[in-house]
């Protein structure tokens, strides 16, 4: 029997790509043994094994499903030395240039990631991109026959979770006015400072009461520290950094949010935007990378160079224009229906059966 194991660079309890891998694993287990391995599993993640445990060869036939999301020489070394064929699921690689001044070694890893991806090509038997944008990026790196499939995206995964009472209490006490939510890592291309400046303009220049809640791990702590410090120095009211939170806390936030807003310059898919639309929260984003297709006409897509002034006016418009808001919510629901994990995972199994 063929074993099909997934390999990730990092794995977390609430990490989006790990959650996608978990969803894919449950489908793969219908046809044979399947586990998830990662180079850097976070502490407490007990359903993902260390990559070292996978071993470079196996007695039975084995296929590796590799989730490419960044540069990591150790993982590519492993893939290079093992003899198993590879199925590539591409989630994109962040733009290295934006990391150059804040984390040079990470910038180098990201650049190397593209090179390693090219050298992996000869081992890949099936190529999957989770968005058209990602497929185009792969095609630019000489990949062919790319299937676009948003695998393992469970848009409604948080819907059955109860609200978290502590989060509810915090929001009652610490926020005022409509809640503007951002979910994402503190990395340069997410431009969280634009959101801080947006909240500053909304409160000081437009006199609009609102609260900005930022959720996500401080992957590059200086980025989050600097954004927090700017909020403090400008005395931006109602600006809350929650860091990494539990799923039920996130579900509570989506339920209470009026707008999901991201100033990100680069997204391979943007799962938080999909989750927001599933909770009937309209999305404001830049018309860039995969956001144009993930959100499309179900959100307010601002010009790529939109600054905090544009963002604050967009929030203001969305909060005041009920018919626009209702329209976006309806379109968001329709958009989310495309992310049917059971259907997409089945399509994956069908494609798989043709190559093994």
């Amino acid at each position: 029997m063929t074993e099909i194991h997934q390999v990730l660079v990092g794995a977390g309890r609430t990490d989006a790509i790990t959650n996608m891998a978990r969803s894919i694993r449950s489908s793969l287990r219908k046809i044979g043994p399947s586990e998830i391995y990662a180079q850097h599993p976070a502490p407490g993640v007990d359903d993902v094994y260390l990559l070292d445990k996978l071993g470079q060869s196996a007695r039975s036939k084995r296929i590796i499903v590799f989730h490419a999301s960044g540069g990591n020489p150790a993982v590519y070394d492993f893939l290079d030395t093992c003899s198993d064929p590879v199925i590539l699921i591409f989630h994109n690689i962040a733009p290295a240039d934006l990391f150059e001044d804040v984390d040079k070694s990470r910038a180098d890893d990201l650049r190397q990631g593209w090179k390693d991806l090219e050298s992996l090509r000869s081992k890949v038997i099936l190529t999957i991109a989770d968005s058209e944008f990602n497929a185009q990026c792969l095609a630019d790196h000489k990949y062919e026959n790319i299937e676009v499939l948003p695998l393992g995206v469970e848009a409604n995964r948080l819907h059955n979770l109860p609200s978290n009472a502590v989060m509810d209490y915090r929001l009652d006490r610490e926020t005022n006015g409509p809640l503007l939510l951002f979910v994402g890592q503190s990395v340069p291309h997410k431009k969280i400072e634009t959101l801080i400046q947006m909240q500053y303009l909304l409160s000081v220049h437009l006199g609009r009461e609102s609260s900005l809640v930022l959720v996500g791990p401080p992957t590059i702590s200086a980025i989050q520290d600097a954004a927090l410090e700017q909020a403090r120095r400008l005395r931006v009211p109602n600006c809350i950094f929650l860091g990494q939170i539990q799923d039920d806390e996130l579900a509570t936030l989506y339920r209470r949010s009026s707008v999901f807003v991201t100033a990100s310059l680069h997204e391979g898919l943007c799962i938080p935007a999909i989750e927001a639309m599933s909770f009937e929260v309209p999305v404001i984003a830049r018309r860039t990378s995969a956001l144009s297709e993930t959100v499309g006409d179900a959100g307010m897509l601002l010009p790529e160079d939109a600054g905090p002034e544009f963002f604050s006016e967009a929030v203001n418009e969305l909060l005041e224009n009920d018919s626009l808001k209702r329209n976006l919510i309806e379109r968001g629901k329709e958009k989310v229906s495309h992310y049917d994990s059971a259907l997409n995972n089945q399509k994956f199994l069908d494609s798989l059966s043709q190559v093994i």
Binding site: G55, S57, D101, E193, H205, G207, R233, D297, L302
Partner: protein, 165 residues
């Protein structure tokens, strides 16, 4: 479902232009906010050329301890595992010989890099004093600008509270 009006972008653009014209958004406000953030970010400086050279040297040193026991002999196949272990034992003399030569070479390389980095540091101190002065002046200017921006924000907040009274 009715279609989303594409006019909203134009409407927002126009409103931004109006606010700029009315002075609600002072000229260059976005640039000023961005400079303010960049100046703060520099304060949390976590990376410089020198730190990077030193950290590279530390990484180089930590990766140049060669040891035969670090060579993986594990395999999921028990037979292969045994074969790897037997080969490892049989060739231990040759392996140790090669490792010893590599270790000597790595130690010499480390010493050479250490000397080079010391030289770079000295060059920075001797040849870079003019630049340091400029950077210090620039840093002072940035601090004064930040302080002015802070004061402006405070005055704005006070004006706002007076207006609301």
């Amino acid at each position: 479902m009715s279609s989303v009006s594409p006019d909203y972008l134009e409407k927002i653009k126009q409103r931004v232009a109006e606010r700029r014209e009315a002075g609600d958004y002072p000229p260059g406000l976005e640039n000023q906010l961005d400079r303010h953030y960049q100046e703060i970010l520099r304060g949390f400086n976590f990376f410089s050329d020198e730190d990077d050279l030193q950290s590279l040297l530390r990484r180089l040193k930590s990766s140049t301890a060669f040891d035969a026991t670090s060579i993986e002999t594990w395999s999921p196949n028990p037979l292969k595992r045994m074969v790897h272990r037997v080969i490892a034992k049989l060739t231990i003399r040759q392996t140790s010989g090669v490792l010893s030569q590599v270790q000597q070479h790595a130690n010499t390389l480390n010493q050479a890099f250490e000397a080079l980095i010391l030289l770079v540091d000295e060059l920075q101190v001797d040849g870079g004093s003019g630049q340091t002065e400029i950077l210090n002046n620039r840093s002072d200017l940035d601090k004064r600008l930040s302080a002015a921006l802070d004061r402006l924000s405070l005055i704005e907040a006070e004006l706002e509270s007076l207006r609301s009274k």
